[in-house]
């Protein structure tokens, strides 16, 4: 049984007035299925507004999904009440994008890392310090950082603290939402390295959310590509990067600038931009920009189906 099984997940946000005019819905996540095993890294890519962050948060119930199910080891996270959800929260943690916003400026690092352990009674007064020290060491920081405050640290160091905090309650599932996007390029590699080493050592299932396909290629075992709240393609990382089937994935790959001045990718040009997720959807969400769209794409919404072993695509033309 997989660690995480998401089925038919929908998260819609209301907007507009409840009393005046029309009330509309932003369909941030609109029917997503995915699975994640222990020790596996699933990369979730998409452009801004594709719903990848909302999906990550819905899985952890940091936002309330509208419909669907999220099974963690066979238990539906969405059906639990507050009290029964709490012990489960220990097993699912998150690292946010911006380490300047995700750490309380008023707490010492020691307290930031120890708080989840206190909450779940994973440490007592005597061994708390030792455990914090151990976590600091595992993210490559010296013990003296315990007495520091976040503002005394660089972005890369803060993000390591955020990782240590997430791991302090020994989670099975970790959602990392653009964990290196806010960091300087030269320190991104360090932080990615630490995150992946710990993920492997501890056999954590990692949902790695990123807009950057080149980063995802380095970290993920499988990749899911999101567009307008839906998964357009999902495949093992090599198959996706070298043999993408969905026209959107192909366009996305072709748009990545290559750091080799002599090499030019053949670029697939897309028309227009991401449509508003509040428009009612008919047909394929990508049809308005797809270079290959046909009549059927405007009429019917394609389902995510396995077209090659391990490679699922939501497209009528593939």
């Amino acid at each position: 049984m997989s660690l995480l099984q998401v089925s038919g997940l929908k998260t819609h946000f209301p907007f507009g007035s409840r009393w005046f005019g029309e009330r509309s819905w932003v369909r941030a996540v609109d029917g997503v299925d995915l699975g994640l095993d222990r020790g596996e890294v699933l990369g979730l890519v998409g452009e801004s507004g594709s719903g990848k962050t909302t999906l990550g948060r819905s899985v952890l119930r940091l936002v309330e999904p509208t419909d669907g199910s999220v099974m963690l080891d066979g238990v539906d996270v969405l059906k639990l009440g507050r009290r029964r959800l709490r012990p489960l929260r220990q097993r699912m943690q998150i690292v946010f994008q911006d380490p300047y916003a995700s750490l309380s400026p008023r707490l010492q690092i020691r307290r930031i890392i120890a708080e989840p352990m206190r909450l779940y009674r994973l440490a007592n007064k005597h061994d708390e310090s030792a455990k914090v020290e151990e976590l600091l060491e595992s993210v490559g920081l010296e013990p003296y950082f315990m007495q520091r405050y976040p503002h005394e640290m660089s972005g890369g160091q803060r993000q390591r603290i955020a990782i240590a905090r997430a791991l302090s309650c020994e989670p099975d599932l970790l959602v990392a939402d653009e964990p290196v996007s806010a960091l300087d390029v030269s320190v991104q590699a360090q932080v990615l390295g630490i995150l992946l080493r710990l993920q492997r050592e501890r056999g954590i299932g990692l949902l790695f959310i990123s807009h950057d396909l080149s980063v995802v290629e380095r970290v993920a075992d499988r990749v899911a590509v999101m567009y307008l709240g839906r998964i357009m393609e999902e495949a093992p990382v090599g198959d996706l990067i070298h043999g993408a089937l969905h026209p959107y994935t192909q366009a996305l790959l072709s748009a990545v600038p290559d750091p080799d001045p002599e090499y030019r990718r053949e670029r697939i040009r897309l028309r227009g931009e991401l449509p508003s997720p509040s428009e009612p959807l008919r047909g394929c969400p990508f049809a308005s920009r797809c270079p290959e769209a046909q009549q059927v794409c405007l009429d019917l919404t394609p389902k995510l189906e396995e077209k090659k072993p391990g490679q699922a695509v939501a497209c009528h033309l593939r």
Partner: protein, 322 residues
């Protein structure tokens, strides 16, 4: 002959905590029609170089030394009036955040015709008509309608197109673009880069492209300069720097960026440590605490520029002159 020559530029910020050397002794040229990329991580001073060229350095920053020669005239010595004509006229500017660059309370067409009236001496009526033409030229659909749109009515990509249209409607000789695609998605970024290339060819316009994205550099620039802690570390042809980076920082930077399709065989090593605080810079070469080649030689004084073949320069003790 160089269109723009920046000579020994130094821009410092005089803060209560001390003197912050945001740009320190930077020299480079941009030739007619050429794209030069200015590369570095956040805080390396690349944006302050651009602001210094345009005399837009915010208080308490000040240009303390150096020359900014644009068409042989030192922009630091010309009259305010002449500077005003150059800025937005012969030198166009595009900034990172298109939302912040546009005035939210005027339609975009109005913002463009203001520039056209000021720099190309058009009447209001002519300028309004020209604005429609220019907006169409940067790929904004239905330009006759969109001239009346307010910035908030446009998407990020469309806004950046409008900003580029405003910056280039005066047919500048030089475009300074500061992270023009950083706020955009890759598919939109690709379109904006195409547009910039197209306009450059059309107007034979030179570009100083400021970016931290080496992929964008490889795609756009003929030459590049690498900055770190306000200092110029390496300068040369883009191809040469990518093929054979001489400075250990340039090498480290190139090994920090994953290349799509390379798989996991190509290790991402990054650079140990973190970018130092500009108020507490290490002595000697500012990179020495993070550098794998550093020794006693590197700790006392910042290395002078070594000159290498093909107009390449590099500030590192471990790189020998030709």
């Amino acid at each position: 002959m160089a269109l723009l020559r920046v000579e020994e530029l130094a821009t410092y910020f005089f803060l209560d905590e001390g003197e912050l050397r945001a740009v320190d002794d930077v020299t480079f040229e941009v030739n007619e029609g050429e794209t030069v990329a200015l590369v570095g991580e956040s805080g390396c001073g690349k944006t302050i170089v651009a602001m210094s060229i345009l005399d837009l350095v915010p208080w308490p920053g000040q240009i303390v030394r150096g020359k900014i020669l644009f068409r042989h005239e030192d922009l630091r010595r010309v009259t305010r009036e002449k500077l005003r004509q150059s800025r937005g006229g012969e030198i166009g500017m595009v900034f990172q955040e298109p939302g912040a660059a546009l005035n939210p309370v005027y339609p975009i067409g109005r913002q463009m015709s203001e520039v056209l009236q000021l720099h190309r001496g058009m009447s209001r009526h002519e300028a309004d008509r020209e604005a429609v033409r220019v907006l169409g030229g940067v790929g904004i659909p239905e330009p006759e309608k969109r001239v009346n749109a307010y910035p908030f009515e446009l998407s990020g990509g469309m806004r950046q197109r409008a900003v580029i249209a405003i910056a280039t409607c005066t047919r500048p000789r030089l475009l300074i673009a500061d992270e023009p695609t950083t706020a955009l998605d890759v598919t939109v970024q690709a379109e904006i880069l195409d547009l910039m290339r197209h306009l450059q060819a059309q107007y034979n316009m030179a570009t100083l492209l400021i970016t931290h994205d080496l992929g964008v550099v490889a795609e756009m620039a003929q030459r590049m300069l690498v900055m770190y802690t306000g200092k110029l570390f390496e300068l040369g042809r883009t191809q040469d720097l990518f093929d054979d980076p001489k400075h250990p920082y340039t090498q480290g930077l190139l090994h920090s960026v994953p290349r799509l399709g390379a798989g996991r065989d190509d290790p991402l090593t990054g650079i140990p440590g973190a970018v130092p605080d500009l108020l507490q810079l290490p002595g000697g070469c500012t990179f020495h605490p993070r550098c794998k080649l550093s020794d006693e030689e590197c700790v006392d004084e910042f290395p002078s520029m070594r000159t290498l073949p093909y107009g390449r320069v590099c500030a590192c003790y471990k790189v020998k002159d030709r």
